[in-house]
């Protein structure tokens, strides 16, 4: 089965009002080229589920987001994501604010076909009082109440990986695949952009196969986009682009998202990469040290 497609073909399969999960974490390994293709589209009223970074900020600023399911939105070295803040402070988006681990449990529940997973996480906090859709349940085994974290069913998941073949075998070679395997399993359709398209034989080496975190049956489409995570990192291939994030952050104070879009977005990923200095420049960005 050949699952190779273009970013435009991916976005054509998405619809207004869909719930879309976005893989990665903060400024790390986000499917930004696919996010940019959404920015170029007419899609609207999306519910976004994300360990958020600029993916969330850009989509909020562009008016694509009806509701956000999140535990944080941050660029890490710039702790507060400027456009997410603006959207919240303007009351422009609905939110389901949950704990980082609850988000994982919600994806697992969806992946496993369960209505919820019980947990102690959230008890006693405003996660419960501010989310009327998150219920407490009595345990059949003790006299305590627990949080019933509901399944976070995704219409689509967008993920960026280091390598994939056209059949949907996806490899994350960086040190952490975050929760991306659960995004892939929680979604009806999972679209994966990859820095390198490789032949299936690449994975014959067990050391390479070990870095494949879900089965190809959970992958719907594969979009080869070298550098497609920019300005986020795709370790070990490249780090996140600090000057670019600073420039992005500055537009929130002056010019707004339109200034950012005018300067960088372009009508295609090729144009975007030209606007940010080209693929070689992206691949030359050093990895961060913590």
């Amino acid at each position: 089965m050949d699952k190779q497609m273009t970013a435009a073909q991916v976005v054509a399969q998405l619809g207004d009002g869909m719930t879309i999960g976005i893989g990665g974490w903060g400024p790390r390994r986000k499917p930004m080229a696919l996010v940019r293709e959404i920015l170029r589209s007419d899609l609207k009223d999306l519910t976004i589920v994300s360990y958020g970074g600029a993916d969330v900020g850009m989509l909020c600023a562009a008016g694509k987001v009806k509701k956000l399911v999140f535990a944080f939105v941050s660029l890490d070295f710039i702790p507060l994501e400027p456009y997410f803040r603006q959207a919240r402070q303007a009351g422009a988006i609905e939110v389901m604010e949950i704990d980082e681990g609850m988000l994982l449990l919600g994806l697992r529940a969806a992946a496993w076909g369960l209505p919820f997973i019980p947990t102690e996480v959230g008890l006693g906090t405003d996660i419960i009082t501010r989310n009327p859709d998150i219920k407490l349940v009595d345990s059949p085994y003790d006299d305590k109440e627990w949080v019933a974290m509901p399944a976070l069913q995704l219409d689509a998941a967008l993920i960026h990986v280091d390598r994939a073949d056209t059949r949907g075998v996806c490899q994350i070679a960086g040190p952490d695949h975050y929760m991306d395997d659960w995004y892939a399993r929680a979604a009806d359709k999972t679209y994966v952009s990859c820095d390198e398209l490789v032949p299936t034989e690449y994975f014959r080496d067990p050391a390479q196969a070990r870095l494949v975190h879900w089965e190809r049956a959970a992958t719907t489409g594969v979009v080869p986009i070298p550098g497609g995570a920019h300005p986020t990192s795709c370790s070990p291939l490249y780090g996140f682009d600090v000057p670019h994030f600073k420039a992005y952050n500055a537009t929130a104070k002056e010019g707004g998202i339109q200034a950012y879009i005018d300067q960088y977005l372009g009508s295609s990923e090729a144009e975007y990469q030209q606007n940010v200095g080209g693929l070689d420049a992206i691949r030359a960005i050093a990895l961060p040290t913590y």
Partner: protein, 271 residues
Amino acid sequence: MSNAATDYTLAELCIVAAAEAFRPDGEVLATGIGVIPRLAASLAMKTFNRDLMMTDSEAFLLSEPNPIGARGDDFVQANETWMGFSRIFDNVWSGRRHAMLGPTQIDRFGQSNTSALGGTYEQPKVMMLGARGFPGNSISHPNSFFVPSHNTRVFVDGECDFVSSIGYNPARLPKGHSLDEVDIRMVVTNLCVMDFGGADHGMRLVSLHPGITVEQVCENMGFDLEVPADVPATPAPTEKQLAIIAALDPHNQRAYQIKDNPPGNPSGGGN
């Protein structure tokens, strides 16, 4: 105290005081978020609690803490296992962790806020990070706080604007659960050390940093603090501790964590 230093910064005093939070922990994951908490956990792991576990802030567990910042091309970090973020939750929910964090607000119950200030929940005046992992941390394992600027905006009157983490608030206690399931250990600030060992889990003064008075601390709290009859001074770092801290923080990031990087002992040696 043997080898007590006379010349040290307030940041270094706080690191040494905060390290004490990890002394009784045994073999748990010590997570210090921010420079001072991270150095505190690292100092504890290098000295009096060698059993602590720590990550590289990315995806590996280390048998020796990493120095902060750029470490040179020949540096080899002491990995002992993979510890990606999904596995962090397996550890968190097992309870074998102690985190030290710096929330924006803390209230009398030890509830904390990392999310939103003022306005309404639908439209807050100031949006911050979000709840992050605070809800899960607070119900699953011991937690401590570090506050670089002790004032009434942090230690708020009433409840936090948004309650990210569970505290000792009977009104929010879920059915069948006990306040004993909550374990808030130590609160280290630029003025003092506190805990929740007061009456009914109230906040209590444990020690005062050199030159700081009880009145100064109380004036900077939005709620009443329990003050024991005798409040000792926060112990000064030893020369050995200062040397270990310097090695763990070769780029001196600790100098930028407390406003103006004041000396730890205003009446003592110069700075």
